[in-house]
Structure formats: C-alpha cells, structure tokens
C-alpha cells in the first residue's frame, strides 16, 4: 500500500467513522461506505486539507470509489 493510498484510507475512515479494513479500492463512498450527502462534502474537504490540494467541484463528483480517489489525488500530487 502506497503512502497516498494509506493516507486516503485513513481520511475516509476518520471522516466516515469506519474501519480501514472495511475498505477496498472498489468500495463506493455512498452505497458501500454509507457516506451521506454532507459526509461526501466533508470527505472532499478532508482530502484537500490532508494533501494540500484543491479538487475541482465538477471533477470531484466523478470520484465515487476509494480507488478513484487514489487515482485522482495521485495525479494532483
């Protein structure tokens, strides 16, 4: 597991209050990990702070799984 992947999973676990062990790359934030609407917003904000990046609102909408988040954020770093 890369450092980015680990940190992303930690952010997800912290924001959604779930175990890191529950997550796979295919885990969908809403349907599988139970992210409510507001939590999705918090998740993006948490990624931005953790990696000191700015995620475009439109592009962030496409980030629907843990794997996509890893891929998307890795490109920004």
């Amino acid at each position: 597991m890369s450092d980015v992947e680990r940190r992303i999973k930690e952010v997800v676990a912290r924001t959604l209050k779930i175990d890191v062990g529950r997550m796979t790359d295919e885990s969908r934030f809403v349907e599988d990990l139970g992210a409510e609407s507001i939590q999705s917003v918090e998740l993006v904000a948490a990624f931005e702070e953790e990696f000191d990046i700015e995620m475009d609102d439109e592009e962030a909408l496409e980030v629907k799984t843990v794997g996509k988040a890893i891929e998307f954020i890795s490109k920004l770093l």
């Binding site: 349907e31 917003v41 918090e42 904000a45």
Partner: protein
C-alpha cells in the same frame, strides 16, 4: 348604484298583488321600486324599514348553471337596496342593512346582517410574530405585504409606524358603515350566517358556515371563493383567493391569489400573495408571498416566512415558560424545513436554506444563504454554508414562482421581485465568504468546529463553503455584465455609456427584502423618511412610491452589480477594452457552465442506486431497473436534465456570437 330619484312608491295595485302573494311590509310607503317593476317576481317576502328594489324581471344563471327567475322569494328584507337582476330566495332569518348590487344571487342563506358602525374586518390589530404583542399589524382591505412588513418589523422607526397606523385607521374610518355591500354578480348560497361582511363583485360564497366582521375583495377577472364549512371571524380575503373546505380563520388577512383549505386553522396571522395553506395551523405568523404549508401536524407560529415550504410536522416554540410567548423566528426567503423539523425561537435562517431535524438551540445564520442546517443529536445546529447553491431544487424554485403567480386579474397589491440571485443574496454571499475566510485563517487545525451565530460549522468545511459562494458570486456578477452588454448591443447603444451607472440609480451596499420586494437600503430609508415627514400620507401614495422603487430595480441592481464586480474582480470597468469585455464573457461561460453542470449532477442523485430503493416490488434485481425506468424515466431523458444540458451547450455558441458583436462594436466605438 343607489340613486333615490330612480325609485318610485308602489301603487295600490302593486301592493295588493304583493299581499295576495303572501308579502307583508312594516310600512309599504318605505318600499320603493324602479319603473317597470313587476310584482309577480316577489313572493312570500317581508319588508322592514326602507327597501329599494330594482328591476327584477328576467332570469339569473345560478352558480350551478341553472337559469332561475330573478326576484325575492321567501325572505325578510330590512333596510336594503336590491339591484336589478338579483335573485334572493329562501333566507332563514333576514337580510338587513345591505346594498345588494346588480345580478347578485342569494339563496338559502340563514342570516345576513350589518350592524351600525361595522368596519368589515378593517381596523383589527393582530399580534404578529410576537404573540405577546408589540408588533401589531392593523388589518385593512388595501394592506400589502410591504405595508404590513414595515408596520410589523420596523418598530425602530416609531414615527413611521404611527404614520402607517394612521393611514390604516383613516382607511378603516372611510369604509366604516351601517350598511354592508354585496358586489355585482356575487353569489351567496347555503351560507349559515354573514354578519358585518362586505362582499366584492363576482365573489362566490357557497356553503360557508359563519362569516363575521370581514371583507371579501373580488373582481370579475379574479373572483374570490369561500367554500364549505368555512368559519371566518375578523378577516380580509383578497382577490383571486379561495378559502374552502372547513378552513377556520380568526383575525386573519389573506392576500391575493392565496389558497387556504382542508381544515386549515389560522389565527392572528397575515398571508400574502400566492400562499397555500392546508391541513395545518398558523398562529401569529407573517406569511410573506409564496409561503406554502400543505401537511397535517404542521404548526407555524410567531415566524416570518416567504417563498417558504414547510415539511410535514414542521413545528416551532415561541414560549420558554418564562415571560410568555415573546420569542420570534425569521426564516428569510426561500427557506425549506424538512419533515418534523423543529426550531426553538428565536432563530434566524438565511435565504434559501434547508433546515432539518430538531434544533433546541438558538442560532442566527441570516447572512449565510443557501445553507444546510441540520440538528445534531444534542439539538445543536450544524451548518454547511452555501451547500444548496447548486441543488436542483433551488434552480427549479427560481423558475416556478413567477409561473405560479395566480394574480392575473386585479391590480397586484404585493410587490414581488422573484430573483433567486440578486444583490440581496449575492451581497450576503460576499460577506459570508469574507467571514469564512477570516475564520479559516484564524482557526487552528486541531479545532473541529467553529461557531457562527450559534450554529456550528466544521472547520474543514470553511474552505469548501467559500468555494460554493465564490461560484455563485462569479456566476451572478459575470452574468449581469454580459446581460448589460447584450442589452446595449440590442438597443444599439454604445458600450461605454451602457456600462455606466444611470443617474437615477441608487447604490447601497446592503439590499433589503421588504416582504418580497428587493431594494437598496438607501431606497428604503428615503421611502421611510418620506412617510415620517408626511410626504406619503395615503395608502395610494405609499403604493405608488413602491411601484417607482420596483421600476428602478434594474438600474439599482446594475449600480450594485457594477460596484461589486469591480470589488470582487479588482478591476475598473471604465477602463475595460473590447478585449477585457470578451474575456469577461468567456469567464462567464466557464463559471456558468460549471454551475449548471453541478446542478445537473445534483439532479443525477435522483437517479442513483440509492434513489431506486423500493423499486421492482416482488421482482428480481433486474426488475428494479425496469420498474424505475417505467416510473421515473431515464436520467438522460429527464426534461430538467435535458434543459440544463441544452443551456450549457448553447452557452458557448451564444457567447462566441456575443464576442463577435463586441469586437464589431468596439471597433466602431474605437474602444480598444
């Protein structure tokens, strides 16, 4: 209508005929008729006092569509004028002290009477917002949302409030009468009692239970309806409204184009244009234009609302069992409250916000529009500022309100500016953005939440919310500039002058939502000072001044938008070249497309897997998709989604065309 010279005394033959038809009179000399009077159309009628009767020959078509003979049948009529072409039949007790205009149909009415000095619902003072008093509104039949708003909420200008009250009382005095009026073509059928009620032309009052001390304003283009089992005591119902289905009104003003029914109960409240209220209850509320409450168990109390939608079971408390019911709430325009939401007054909610859950703490988020306010388990309010800026509901609301204006016939008394994005909301967003940035810059990363006006905001969200507001601000300001350019080009005006502020415009940093009408603070202050000086001393003068403010909206808005544009983008519009105008237009395409795409994406949630829960009843997993498709349709084919996508697609070509026009024009004007 009443002209004594039109009437003549009954002849002895006519009196004899009437007596043979079972009629009596206290004094036949007091019963006068117009020329050509035919006594055949009066049977079993009993006259008391002065009665003037017009030509009652012919028939009248009843509201049920039947042609029935005009005339007076089985009725006691006391001190009344009955206009031509009327039908009065089967009156239980009597009709006393009414001027009944032409072509009125009154059937099966129990009692109808006006007492001496009746005010017909005018002059009643009701305690709005603060149930314990101090914000009284005087009801009268020319009351507008703006008049009521200033009288109720601008108590910090006691001189002005006194002037407004004097206007309302002068009007009350002018309409005070010993005689009520039933306007031409009105129909009253199956009503138990009508006491001290003026009824406007073309009004329909059918099967109502009890109407006392009130006025029904009505006109041919916009008849007012009062329906079955309604009990209304101390009321004014304005044109094109309906109060039906057992509604219960006690000291209530119902403005134009409203719908109140299904056993709704309201007391000490005002409802302005296009409100809808069914099933629930209102106490001491100021329901500004488009306040909508449709569900049972919904209590609106001591609150200010407008462009509002109440979820089922919405409830508030205004009484902390200390000094009485003295707390008030203000839900600024466009707010929605979710099912079983609860708020403990005092609270103030910013425009176009959504309130969910049981809030047992007080908060003020007035300067944070489009926010999401959700109660935590401990009753504290958690806010996500600006979250609802790009939600599909906001965009749909903005489009639907103007289309749902039911005031089509009569003069519109309430002034309404419909814009969702205006100097009022954008000004708040600019301030909110600044405040959020200051908080973000000064809050340590170890802090989880910060408090804004008593609402908690997660520190992480501070940056996100700034982004939301930034998008809204940019869309609005860029769009205003582009619209100004387009307008100038269409009129053949030169761009330099078109982008200047008109001399008539009034610029203020703050804008006010005055009961549905938006205006710069300076306009309001000038207006209120004129009232205080006595320059605007009548209701008509008041209304005329508001009309002028309404007409000035576009130029006032541009004055504000131009100043905000320069401030936000740090530019000088006077120094704009053709190239910078094109750059601004291109920036508009970018940000507007982004905005619309976010709205489309929000609409997409309605088609996501979670929205398909419960579909495909008793079927397989495959049936879920099929069932959903048949019922809800396909995302790509949804009319709203298609419309938004079309707008995005057209935006680019539209701006390309505009840029070409700008280039041509600036070459002409040598603006480069």
């Amino acid at each position: 209508m009443k002209q004594a010279t039109d009437y003549t005394a009954l002849t002895q033959d006519q009196i004899s005929t009437l007596q043979r038809q079972g009629c009596t009179a206290q004094d036949w000399t007091q019963v006068v008729v117009t020329q050509g009077f035919d006594p055949a159309c009066i049977q079993q009628a009993h006259f008391m006092g002065q009665v003037e009767i017009g030509d009652l020959s012919g028939t009248i078509t009843t509201p049920q569509g039947l042609a029935k003979p005009c005339g007076i049948y089985h009725a006691t009529v006391m001190n009344c004028t009955v206009g031509r072409g009327c039908r009065i039949a089967n009156v239980g007790v009597h009709i006393a002290n009414y001027n009944i205009e032409a072509h009125v149909c009154i059937e099966h009415v129990g009692l109808m009477q006006t007492h001496p000095g009746a005010t017909f619902g005018n002059g009643i003072e009701i305690s709005v917002l603060n149930e314990a008093g101090g914000r009284e509104i005087v009801l009268f039949d020319k009351l507008s949302a703006q008049f009521a708003y200033m009288m109720c909420l601008h108590r910090y200008r006691p001189k002005m409030v006194a002037k407004l009250k004097a206007m309302a009382m002068a009007h009350t005095e002018a309409v005070t009468s010993d005689r009520g009026t039933v306007g031409a073509h009105a129909s009253l059928c199956g009503v138990k009692e009508i006491v001290d009620v003026n009824i406007g032309p073309w009004a329909r009052v059918h099967q109502a239970c009890s109407l006392q001390n009130g006025t029904l304003l009505s006109c041919e283009q916009g008849p007012t309806t009062v329906g079955a089992d309604v009990i209304a005591h101390g009321f004014i119902v304005a044109e094109e409204s309906s109060v039906t289905e057992g509604a219960l009104l006690t000291e209530v003003f119902v403005g134009q184009g409203c719908r109140i029914g299904k056993q709704y109960s309201a007391e000490g409240s005002v409802f302005f244009a296009n409100c809808e209220a069914f099933h629930g209850e209102a106490v001491s509320i100021f329901a500004g234009p488009y306040t909508v409450t449709h569900h049972k168990s919904t209590l609106l109390i001591a609150g200010l609302f407008s462009f509002y939608n109440a979820g089922s079971g919405t409830n508030q408390s205004n009484h902390m069992y200390k000094l009485g019911p003295c707390h008030e709430g203000k839900l600024l325009r466009g707010t929605k409250t979710g099912s079983f939401s609860y708020m403990m007054w005092p609270c103030r909610v910013g425009p176009f916000s959504v309130v969910l859950g049981k809030h047992s703490s007080n908060f003020d988020t007035a300067d944070f529009p489009f926010s999401h306010l959700e109660a935590r388990h401990d009753g504290k309010c958690m806010m996500v500022p600006g979250l609802h800026l790009t939600t599909v509901g906001t965009v749909r609301d903005g489009a639907k309100w103007p289309q749902r204006d039911r005031r089509q016939g009569c003069d519109k008394r309430d002034m309404i500016d419909f814009a969702v994005f205006s100097p009022y909301t954008i000004g708040k967003m600019i301030k909110a953005q600044t405040q959020l940035k200051a908080l973000m810059d000064t809050t340590d990363k170890s802090v989880e939440t910060v408090s804004i006006g008593g609402a908690l905001v997660k520190r992480l969200i501070l940056r996100t919310s700034q982004k939301y507001y930034r998008t809204g601000i940019e869309v609005y300001l860029r769009e205003k500039l582009v619209q100004r350019i387009e307008h100038a080009l269409a009129q053949g005006r030169d761009l330099k002058h078109a982008l200047a502020v008109d001399d008539s415009a009034m610029a203020s940093e703050d804008w006010i939502d005055l009961g549905g009408q938006l205006m710069p603070r300076q306009r309001l202050e000038t207006f209120e000072e004129a009232i205080e000086r006595g320059d605007l001393a009548s209701v008509e003068a008041f209304q005329e001044a508001l009309n002028k403010i309404h007409e000035a909206y576009e130029e006032d808005e541009w004055a504000w938008a131009r100043a905000a544009y320069e401030q936000v983008f740090d530019v000088t519009i006077d120094a704009f070249t053709g190239e910078s105008l094109q750059e601004a237009a291109n920036a508009f395409v970018q940000v507007k497309s982004k905005f619309l795409n976010l709205v489309v994406a929000d609409a997409g949630k309605e088609f996501a897997e979670m929205s398909q829960i419960g579909f495909g009843q008793d079927g397989t997993a495959e049936a879920v998709k099929g069932d959903f498709f048949e019922v809800r349709g396909d995302y790509e084919d949804n009319s709203f989604v298609r419309d938004m996508k079309r707008r995005v697609a057209e935006l680019q070509s539209h701006i390309e065309h505009l840029n070409q026009q700008i280039q041509d024009k600036t070459t002409q004007e040598n603006l480069c």
